[in-house]
Amino acid sequence: MEILDHLIQGFAIAFQPLNLGLVIFGCALGLFIGAMPGLGSVNGVAILLPMTFLVPPTGAIIFLAAIYYGAMYGGAISSIMLGIPGASTAVATTFDGRPMALQGLADKALITAATASFVGGTISVILFTLFAPPLAAVALAFGAAEEFALMMLAFATFIGLGGDDIPKTLFSIFIGLVFSAVGLDIISGQPRLIFADIPGFLHGINFLVLAIGIYGIGEMLWTIESSKGDVQISQATVTVRRIIDDLRTFKHTIKATVMGSFLGYFVGILPAAGATPGSLMAYGVAKTISKHPESFGKGNPEGVAAPEAANNAASTGSMLPMLTLGIPGSPTTAILLGGMVIWGLEPGPMLFIEHQEFVWGLIASLYVANVFSLLINVAFIPAFIWVLRLPFTILAPIIFVLCIVGGYAPTQDMHDVWLILIFGVVGYLMRKLEYPLAPAVLAIVLGPLAETSMRQALLISNGSFMVFFERPISGPIMVTAMVLFLLPVFAWMKGKLRSRPAPPGEEQ
C-alpha cells in the first residue's frame, strides 16, 4: 500500500533524534503556551518562528506543529482550573470543565480533556493520512452558500437543544450577534455600530474579550458572592489511583469524544472555520445526543470531552487546506504557512508531489506529538491540582491578573481591557438572572463568518435565498439545521398532544 510506505518513510524522519527531540520540546512548550490565557498557539508559534532557523526546514515545521498541538492540549488546563479559556479554541471546554473543577473533580476533567484530545488528535491524523487528497476536494467544494449552511447548523445545535429556557437562549444569541456586527463591514468597508465613535470598536469586539470577561471576571465575582468572603479551599485532590480510575471511566465519554473528533476534523478542513467553531459545535451536538443533556453546563464530562476532541481534530484538519490548497484554516496555520514559504516549501496542490518527504515527515510527527502531549499533560496534572488548592484569596488576584493580561495581549489595546471588565459585570448579572451565556459566545464567534458567507452567496444568487437549498452540499445541511431549529417546537407539540399527567413545567 502506497500510503503505508509513505507513512513508514515519514516515521523514519519523525524518529530522527533531532526531530523527536523537537517534537517533545515543542509539545511541552505548547502545553504551557496554551495554558496561559491570552497566549494562545497563534502568539506562541509567531514568537517562536525565528527560533526554527537553527534547525533544518522539516524539523522547524515539525517543531512549530508540535507547539500548535501542545497548545491545543494546554488550552483546556486554564479553562478547567481557572475558568478562563486559555485560548479561543478552549472556550467550550470551560462550560463543563469549570463546574467539574468546582465540584472537586478537576483531576477527572483534566484527564478527560487529555484523553479526548488524544483520541481526537489521533483519529484526525489517521483521516489525514488516508484521505488527504479527497478531503482537499471537499474543502474546495465548500463555497459561500455551504459555509453559511454550516454556520446555521452550528447555531441550530445550540438553540434546538431543549431543556434550556428558549427565549433566554435566543436573547443571548442575539446579543452576541449584535456584538459580532460591531466594526467594519467586510463587504462594503463601512464602519458599523461604532459606539460614541470610540476608535477601539473599529476592530470589532474580539470574542476572546467577551469570553474572558464572562468566564474569567464573571466567574470570579460569582465565586466571591457564593463564598461570602469565606476562605475556600478547593476539594481537588489527585492520586495515582484516582488517575487510573479516571482513565477507566473514559468509556462513558467515548461517544462524545468520537463524535467530537469527526465533527472537529471536518469543520477544521474548511478554510474559513478553524478549531473554535468546531469545538463549539461539538459541544452543542454532544449535548443533543447525550443521555443526560440536563447535566450539561453543570459538570458533565461529556461536555469536556467533545470540545477537546474537536479542537485537536480541527487543528490537524486545518493543516489540510494549508498544505494542499495554500489556504490556512486557522490563524495559527497562517503563520505556519508563512514559515513554510521562507524555506521554499510552497504550500499548494504540488506540495504532496514535490516535497513528499516533508509532508509525510510532518504527518508522522503528528502521531508522535499526540502521544507525547498526552504523557506530558498527565504527568503535570498533580502540579496543576496543587495550583487549584491555593486559597481563593491568593488564586483570585492571580486569575484577575491573567484575565487582564490575556485580554490586553492579542490587540495591545486598553480598550479591550475595559470591555473585559464591563462584560465581566454584565456576565455576572446575566448569570444571576439565569441567562445562558454560551450562546452569546457562540454567536460572536460564528456571527461574522455567517454574515459574510450569507452576503457573498446572496450576491452571487442575485438575492435569492434558494441558493442555500438548491446546491447539493448546502441543501441537506440547511434542511438539517432547519429541523434542529424546529425540534423544540415539535417537542412542545408532542407535550401538548399527550394529555398531561406529568406536572407542568417539567424539563423535557
Binding site: A46, I47, L49, P50, F53, A139, L140, A141, F142, G143, A144, G183, L184, D185, I186, I187, S188, G189, Q190, P191, P199, L202, H203, G204, P271, A272, P321, L325, G326, I327, P328, P331, A334, I335, L337, G338, G339, V341, I342, E346, P347, G348, P349, M350, L351, Q412, T452, Q456, L459, I460, N462
Partner: protein, 324 residues
C-alpha cells in the same frame, strides 16, 4: 609611545570608518520593543505571504534587534489597518505592508480621515502583477473565448475579488468596459480565498496575482488568459498582455512598507535600512523572480512621488466607475 599611538589610533579609525559605513543605524535609533508589523489584508493572500516572508528574512539574517510581529487587519478593504496606523500617529513601533487599497480605500471613504501622504515612506519592495484567470474545466483558452462566455452569461458571470473598490474590482470594471461585459463582482477576504473560489468553481474568473494562483496553476487547475503588464511574464509566457490584444492597459500593485504618520526621522531611517537589506537578500530576490514580481527598491521622496502619481491614477479610475 609610538605603539601606544598605533593601538589607540587603529581602533579609533576602525570605529570611525564603521560608523560612516553603517550610517545612522548603529549610532542612532533602535526599536525598544517588538515592532507591530500590520498587514493590510487577510491571511493567505499575496500581501500576507510577502509580509511573513519579510519577517522571516529579518529574523533569519538578524536585520533587526527586536522581532517584527505580523498582525492581520483585513477589515473593510484595508480601512481597519489604515485607521489603526492613523491612530498610531507618532508611534515608532508600528509599520505596515500595503497594497493599492492604500490609495483606493481613503479615496472611497473620506470619512476615515486618512491622508496616506502623511505616512512614513519606508520602502517599496516590489510591484506585483495581475493576470486574468479561469478554471481549466471551462475549456476557455484565450481572451476571445472568455469574452464570448462571459457575454452570454451576462451578470451571472461571477468575478471573485478581494474587496470593494479594490484592485480586483478596478480590473473587473476595466474588463467590463473594454469588452462590453456585465460580470458580477463578489468580494472575499484575501487573495488566497479568492484563488480557492476559482479552483472550487464557485467563481467563473479572477484577476489574482501570480503568487496566489501559482499552486493551482502548477497543479493544472487554473489557466492564465492574459496579463495586465507591460511585457509578457516569463513565468506565463503563453499568456499575452492586454497591450498585445489592443487594450492599452497596464496595472500594478505596490508592495510597500510604510510607517505610522509622524514617525521620528531616526526610526524611519532605521526601518529604511532594514528593508533595503531585506530587498537585497537572496531570499527576497529569489521570491520576486519566482512570483513574477517587478520593480526596484524605492524610498523617501521618490516613494512619495510614486504614491502621488499612483493616487491620482486611482482617483481617475475610481471616478471612472462611479465609486467616488
Amino acid at each position: 609611545m609610538k605603539t601606544l599611538c598605533k593601538t589607540a589610533v587603529v581602533p579609533a579609525v576602525v570605529i570611525v570608518v564603521a560608523l560612516v559605513f553603517s550610517g545612522i543605524a548603529v549610532a542612532g535609533w533602535e526599536p525598544k520593543k517588538p515592532v507591530d508589523f500590520i498587514i493590510m489584508a487577510g491571511k493567505g493572500g499575496g500581501a500576507d505571504k510577502m509580509a511573513r516572508l519579510m519577517q522571516s528574512v529579518i529574523e533569519k539574517h538578524k536585520l533587526a534587534s527586536k522581532p517584527f510581529i505580523p498582525i492581520n487587519k483585513p477589515g473593510g478593504s484595508g480601512a481597519e489597518a489604515l485607521v489603526h496606523l492613523k491612530q498610531k500617529t507618532g508611534d515608532d513601533h508600528t509599520i505596515m505592508v500595503t497594497l493599492n487599497s492604500f490609495y483606493t480605500t481613503p479615496l472611497r471613504q473620506p470619512g476615515l480621515g486618512v491622508d496616506v501622504m502623511t505616512f512614513a515612506p519606508i520602502g517599496r519592495m516590489a510591484e506585483d502583477t495581475f493576470l486574468l484567470w479561469v478554471h481549466k474545466d471551462t475549456g476557455i483558452m484565450n481572451v476571445d473565448d472568455f469574452v464570448k462566455a462571459a457575454k452570454s452569461a451576462g451578470n451571472k458571470w461571477i468575478m471573485a475579488g478581494t474587496g470593494k473598490g479594490q484592485e480586483d474590482q478596478l480590473l473587473t470594471n476595466f474588463l467590463n468596459k473594454a469588452y462590453g461585459l456585465d460580470m458580477k463582482y463578489v468580494p472575499f477576504k484575501g487573495g488566497g480565498r479568492v484563488a480557492k473560489e476559482l479552483a472550487g468553481k464557485h467563481a467563473n474568473s479572477t484577476v489574482n496575482n501570480p503568487s496566489e494562483q501559482l499552486g493551482f496553476y502548477e497543479a493544472g487547475n487554473t489557466v492564465p488568459l492574459a496579463a495586465f503588464t507591460q511585457d509578457r511574464l516569463p513565468l506565463f509566457a503563453n499568456a499575452p498582455t492586454f497591450r498585445e490584444l489592443g487594450k492599452d492597459f497596464v496595472y500594478f500593485m505596490q508592495r510597500s512598507v510604510v510607517g505610522a504618520p509622524g514617525m521620528s526621522k531616526e526610526a524611519e531611517e532605521y526601518y529604511r535600512n532594514v528593508f533595503k537589506k531585506v530587498f537585497q537578500t537572496e531570499e527576497w530576490q529569489g521570491y520576486m523572480k519566482k512570483k513574477s514580481l517587478q520593480g526596484e527598491f524605492l524610498t523617501g521622496s521618490d516613494l512619495k512621488a510614486y504614491w502621488k502619481r499612483e493616487k491620482d491614477i486611482h482617483e481617475t479610475m475610481l471616478k471612472d466607475i462611479g465609486e467616488i
